[in-house]
Each structure stands twice: as structure tokens, then as C-alpha cells.
């Protein structure tokens, strides 16, 4: 990988091409070579940039400055000003509709390591996770002390409500509201459950939070317990996360010794303790009611909802179930206040989001970004661009049950509302970035393979539906799919959504739905022309034996 200083993107949708985008691209390349910058600056055509008001557009990262419309004659001035002198090329900027706040935040980060401006990962990679003093020196347990000595439980819940924090485990449910439901019942005992089952393919953010900063989960759960009136907490952690379990166990015993867990914490009359419960490798146990069944020692199958865990949770008692990332947002909100928290992200989705970024980008890893950043920005700034300068075809957000987001949506802000409006979802925290060599049939097939293996078998639509959908996708990828198969797949996808008992089956249809919606022609090519346009499917003409 060469160290790229700037990334220059030229819009190349048909309208841009018609207005001379290719000539702009050619001249950019020539001007950059003339300025001797070709080793530091990458120029690339990017297809549709999602805005059509000033084409062709030139977007330069990491500043994320948007120029347009740019004519070939503008190019020497643009290169001289922006890339050589590093100033804004005055007069060429496109209007910054919808973009100003986000971009300002990003340019402030230039040249900084990713550890800055973090909320959830503030201490990960900085402190020794097995050293409680390290946590304390970095403001650890101050939020718990503040909550217990200066705030009433109702005030804690209010602050979380006002912060606008929403669940990061996939569904985006407002955390303050969930806590209020549990606090309002008079049924005791109550429980705090931290969902650390994280089993979506490609997600490992919760794992790295737990490994890097285990005390923050403990502190947050204790605050939650105080807020809703619970004295016991469970961390349901994926069985394979051995290191995370060890560090959590160490942290819990340190917290007990120092009095952050146990009786009369910080001299108050509040008591709290935490158990670790390791899962045994079933994806379904991440679903909150199956998780509760599993803690109770039963087979991990989802319950009917309602009643919800907020009233009928663990042992039938009111329970808060929160994702690791969600709950780790709590101590900083209590410590600095809801107004501070709302300075990050967008007005409807405040705060940050932690993602693991993988696939065809130059740099993969763990990132924390403000809500409302766009996929294009994530790829350019954190992924350091597409590998080998390829173009983006799609991204799969949040593991198999997230959405397949086509490149045309790469300027849609990554926040709950904007994504919902575009008919896609953020998922639980993986961004799988795919280039043009990715076949959508193959992607859907791999996803359905996961769901068919992980279906718990309780309800028929999911048990049989995922199996059949996988078989059909396999047939299509072998070049023996029929028109009838496509109709069946469409129907199966609708039935999975409509009739499955829980979120597993309901989201198993998402890859099929998204592929049909955004890439129908490519699927049809497999069936009608017996061609895989991406060249990824076997297309052997034989039906592989369904696994």
C-alpha cells in the first residue's frame, strides 16, 4: 500500500459523462503527473455520486471537498489550488447542502490517529485492560459515583432518554425508553443483561470493546441497575470469546475487591453484582428472548413477544437487555451530560457507531465514526480507498442480516433514520465492502447458507424457507435456475419476512429482497443467459448437492 495523501473522485454517471467527465478525468491525471503528485494522489471515476445538481462533480478526500460542475478548463486551476497549494479552489465548490456539519468534524481529524474523538473506544488500545488502576486514572467509575451520589434513578433515566441513545444491537430501540419501561414495574427482582453474543458474520466490535475496556461494561451495567432498580446483572457472552471472558472475569473480581460491585456501592444503599454466562455457539441465542431461555438453562429458542423482556424477561422478571456497545455509551453520557453527547452524530441518531470494516478496501479494522457519516467517507478515510483502485459495487452492512447497500447509496448518511428512509438498515456493526468482482447471487447464497445453518427450527417458515432459498440460489449459481425459481424465491422471501417467528427468519429474507431490488438484471442474467456477469459463480450446468 502506498501512502495516499489525497483521493480525487470524478462522478461518472451517464449525465456526468455527457457533460465531459471523462475529459475532466484525463486532464486531472495529466495535471497531477505534471505536478509530480502521481505517487500521492489517486484519481478515480466513481459512477453515480448520489447528487445530480452540479455534474460532473469532483470530490477530494480526506477533506471531502465537493467541486462542481467542473469543466476540463477548470482542471489546472483546481489541481494547482487544492492539491499543490492545499487551498480550496475558490469559485468551484458545489453548494454544501446537507453536508457542512459532518464534513467539518471529519476535516478536524486529519492527520490524527483513530483513537481521538472516540466515545465507546475511548480507552480501548490505550489502557491495560487487566489493570483497574489504569481504568480509574482514565476517569473510570466516576460516572457510577456521580449517578449513585448525585442523581436519582429517575434523573439517570432522563439523562439517557435526553441523550437520544438508541440500541446498537441491530434494532435501534431508544435505550432511555427501554429503561423507563423496566423502572416503572413493581415486580422484583429485576435484571440487567448485557448482550455480548455477537455472532453476525464479520462483526467483532463487541469483542474488541470487551477485550480492550472490560471495566466500562461493568460500570455501565451497574448504572443501569441503579436506574431501573436491579441488583443483578448477566453478561451473555459468545463462547468463542475466551480472551474477553478472561478479562471480564478479572475485571469483575477487581471491581468486587474495590467495592464497585457488591453491597452499598459508594456508600449508597445500592448493591449490584454480575455473572458471566458463556454461550455455546448458536447465533439464535443473540436474539434477546432466546438468550434469556439459554441463561435459564433451556434450549435457545425465541419466545413469543409480547410480552417483552421489559416486563417478562429472565425468570419471568423485568429485564433490560442491551448490546455491549449501547451500554458502554452510558458512563460518558452520565459523566458529561446528554447535551455533550448530542454534539456527536445527527439530531435523530446522536453519538457514534463502531464498525468493523472489511472486504476490498486498503485498510481493514475497527473504527468508531460519528453517526451520519457516509459510506463513501468511511471507505475513503478509514478504508484508505478501494483495493487496487477498484470501484465499489455494494456494501453489506451489519453481517448477513444487514442490508445490501448498492454503490448508488454511498452518499446516504449512515444513521438510523436516513437508512430507514432509503429502505436499508445499519445492522449491527460490520461494513463488508465489495468491488465489481462480487456476484450478488453468490453473496445472497453465502448469507442464506449462514441462516439455514443457524435457523433454530422452531418455526416452519424459517426452518424450511431458508433451506429452500439456499437450494434455489445454489441452482441459479450453477446455471440451472429457472424463471419459476425466481418467482419462488420472491415468494419465499416475502413469506420469511411475514411469517417467521423471530428476527432470524425475518431478516434472512433481506439479502434476497435487496438483491432483487438493486441487482435484478444481474440475477436474470444467471437464469436467462446462463451467465454470471461477475464471473464468480461456478455455472457448471449441474445442480450441486444441497448441503
Amino acid at each position: 500500500m502506498k501512502p495516499i495523501r489525497s483521493l480525487v473522485l470524478v462522478s461518472s454517471d451517464p449525465e456526468s459523462i455527457g457533460r465531459g467527465a471523462q475529459e475532466v478525468h484525463r486532464r486531472l491525471q495529466r495535471a497531477i503527473e505534471a505536478a509530480d503528485l502521481e505517487n500521492e494522489v489517486v484519481v478515480s471515476m466513481v459512477g453515480d455520486v448520489g447528487r445530480h445538481d452540479a455534474l460532473p462533480m469532483v470530490i477530494i478526500y480526506p477533506e471531502a471537498t465537493i467541486y462542481g460542475p467542473v469543466t476540463p478548463e477548470n482542471v489546472p486551476f483546481l489541481v494547482e489550488e487544492h492539491l499543490v497549494e492545499r487551498r480550496i479552489a475558490a469559485g468551484l465548490e458545489a453548494s454544501t447542502r446537507e453536508l457542512s456539519g459532518r464534513i467539518a468534524w471529519l476535516s478536524a481529524r486529519r492527520g490524527t490517529l483513530p483513537a481521538e474523538q472516540r466515545i465507546v473506544l475511548a480507552r480501548a488500545g490505550l489502557i491495560d485492560p487487566e489493570n483497574v488502576e489504569d481504568y480509574i486514572v482514565h476517569d473510570g467509575y466516576e460516572a457510577l459515583a456521580k449517578a449513585l451520589t448525585e442523581m436519582t434513578p429517575a434523573e439517570v433515566i432522563n439523562e439517557i432518554g435526553k441523550s437520544g441513545l438508541k440500541g446498537r444491537g441491530g434494532a435501534g430501540f431508544p435505550t432511555g425508553m427501554k429503561w423507563r419501561f423496566v423502572s416503572q414495574t413493581d415486580d422484583y427482582p429485576k435484571y440487567i443483561i448485557c448482550n455480548a453474543d455477537e455472532s453476525e458474520p464479520g462483526t467483532f466490535k463487541d469483542r474488541l470493546i470487551l477485550e480492550g475496556d472490560p471495566h466500562s461494561v461493568i460500570e455501565a451495567m451497574a448504572i443501569a441497575g441503579y436506574a431501573v432498580g436491579a441488583n443483578e446483572g448477566y453478561i451473555y457472552i459468545r463462547g468463542e470469546y475466551v480472551l474477553a471472558q478472561e478479562r471480564l472475569a478479572t475485571a469483575i473480581s477487581q471491581a468486587r475487591q474495590m467495592g464497585f460491585l457488591g453491597e452499598t456501592i459508594f456508600g449508597s444503599d445500592f448493591s449490584f453484582d454480575i455473572h458471566i454466562h458463556a454461550g455455546a455457539g448458536a447465533y439464535i441465542c443473540g436474539e434477546e428472548t432466546a438468550l434469556i431461555e439459554s441463561i435459564e438453562g433451556k434450549r435457545g429458542e425465541p419466545r413469543s413477544r409480547p410480552p417483552y423482556p421489559t416486563t417478562h424477561g429472565l425468570w419471568g422478571k423485568p429485564s433490560v437487555v442491551n448490546n455491549v456497545e449501547t451500554i458502554v455509551n452510558v458512563p460518558p453520557i452520565i459523566q458529561h451530560g446528554a447535551a455533550w453527547y448530542r454534539r456527536f452524530g445527527t439530531s435523530n441518531s446522536p453519538g457514534t457507531k463502531v464498525y468493523t470494516i472489511l472486504g476490498n478496501v486498503n485498510v481493514t479494522g475497527l473504527i468508531e465514526v460519528p453517526m451520519g457519516i457516509t459510506l463513501r467517507e468511511v471507505i475513503a478515510i478509514y478504508g484508505k480507498g478501494m483495493q487496487d483502485g477498484a470501484s465499489l459495487k455494494l456494501a453489506q452492512t451489519g453481517g448477513s442480516s444487514g442490508s445490501i447497500v448498492p454503490a448508488s447509496l454511498q452518499d446516504t448518511p449512515l444513521d438510523f433514520d436516513s437508512y430507514a428512509r432509503a429502505g436499508v438498515s445499519l445492522g449491527s456493526g460490520a461494513l463488508l465492502i465489495c468491488n465489481e468482482d462480487t456476484c450478488v447471487v453468490d453473496l445472497a447464497k453465502v448469507s442464506l447458507n449462514f441462516f439455514k445453518r443457524e435457523s433454530c427450527g422452531k418455526c416452519t417458515p424459517c426452518r424450511v424457507g431458508t433451506q429452500r432459498a439456499y437450494q434455489i440460489l445454489t441452482a441459479i449459481s450453477e446455471g440451472v435456475g429457472t424463471q419459476q425459481d425466481l418467482d419462488d424465491l420472491q415468494m419465499l422471501s416475502e413469506n420469511l419476512t411475514e411469517f417467521s417467528h423471530c428476527g432470524l427468519g425475518q431478516t434472512a429474507s433481506v439479502p434476497i429482497r435487496d438483491v432483487f431490488r438493486h441487482f435484478r438484471a444481474e440475477v436474470d442474467a444467471h437464469v436467462q443467459l446462463k451467465v454470471c456477469p461477475a464471473g464468480a459463480c461456478p455455472m457448471s450446468g449441474q445442480l450441486a448437492k444441497a448441503a
Binding site: L126, D128, F266
Partner: protein, 124 residues
């Protein structure tokens, strides 16, 4: 570790620990931190850590603090080793194999020469 029973207790523990750290930093010449999340360990951070500890023992370097930390996010660059000599800014090395760790101990720790080619680029 004594029980913390009030906000004042917590502040006191924090102050004492900060004092202890200051004293320790004053009497030590360098601080080395190895990224030990699962990503780091999978890339060989345990071997890297072992090499560093052996080098310290072999060369009798008593004045160096070695610690571990979690994932900082740059999984691509694991194993990651941070070196801070005295009050100088931290230097972050990436893809530190045992061989590179030996070189870092020899050149950066013993001779105060930063090995530029192993440093993660500033805007990585």
C-alpha cells in the same frame, strides 16, 4: 486494593495512582506498550511481547515499563508496539515481528534511534 466507599475515595485512589505513575515514569527511561486484543494476538503479539521481555532481560534493562493494551483499531497493522522514550511523543510501530522487535529494542531503546521504516504512517 482497598475498598472505595465514596467519590472522595475514588478521587484519592486516582490521585495516588497518578503520583505513583509520575514517580515511576521519572525513574524509567522508556515505556513500551503492545496491542494485545485478539487481532494482535492472532497476528503474533504474544511472540512479539516475549521477544521484548527477553531483550530486556538479556540486556539487563531495568528501567523500562512494558504493558499491554487492547485493540486500537488498526488491526491491519498488528502486532502494534508503541515506544515512548522519556517525555518524547509516542512512536507507533506496525507489523512488528520478533525480528523487528529485536531491532526496535537494539536501535530505538538502546540507541534512541527511531526506525522510520517500521513506523505506521501518520495518517494510516
Amino acid at each position: 486494593m482497598s475498598a472505595v466507599k465514596s467519590l472522595e475515595d475514588l478521587r484519592r485512589v486516582k490521585e495516588e495512582e497518578l503520583e505513583r505513575r509520575k514517580a515511576r515514569a521519572a525513574s524509567s527511561r522508556a515505556q513500551i506498550t503492545v496491542g494485545m486484543g485478539t487481532c494482535g494476538i492472532a497476528a503474533g503479539a504474544r511472540e512479539t511481547m516475549q521477544t521484548i521481555l527477553e531483550a530486556i532481560e538479556d540486556e539487563n534493562l531495568g528501567d523500562i515499563i512494558v504493558s499491554q493494551t487492547g485493540c486500537v483499531g488498526l488491526c491491519e497493522w498488528d502486532p502494534i508496539v508503541e515506544v515512548a522514550i522519556g517525555q518524547e511523543p509516542k512512536v507507533t510501530y506496525g507489523k512488528v515481528s520478533p525480528e523487528k522487535a529485536k531491532a526496535i529494542m537494539r536501535e530505538h531503546i538502546m540507541e534512541s534511534k527511531i526506525i522510520r521504516k517500521y513506523v505506521i504512517p501518520a495518517y494510516a
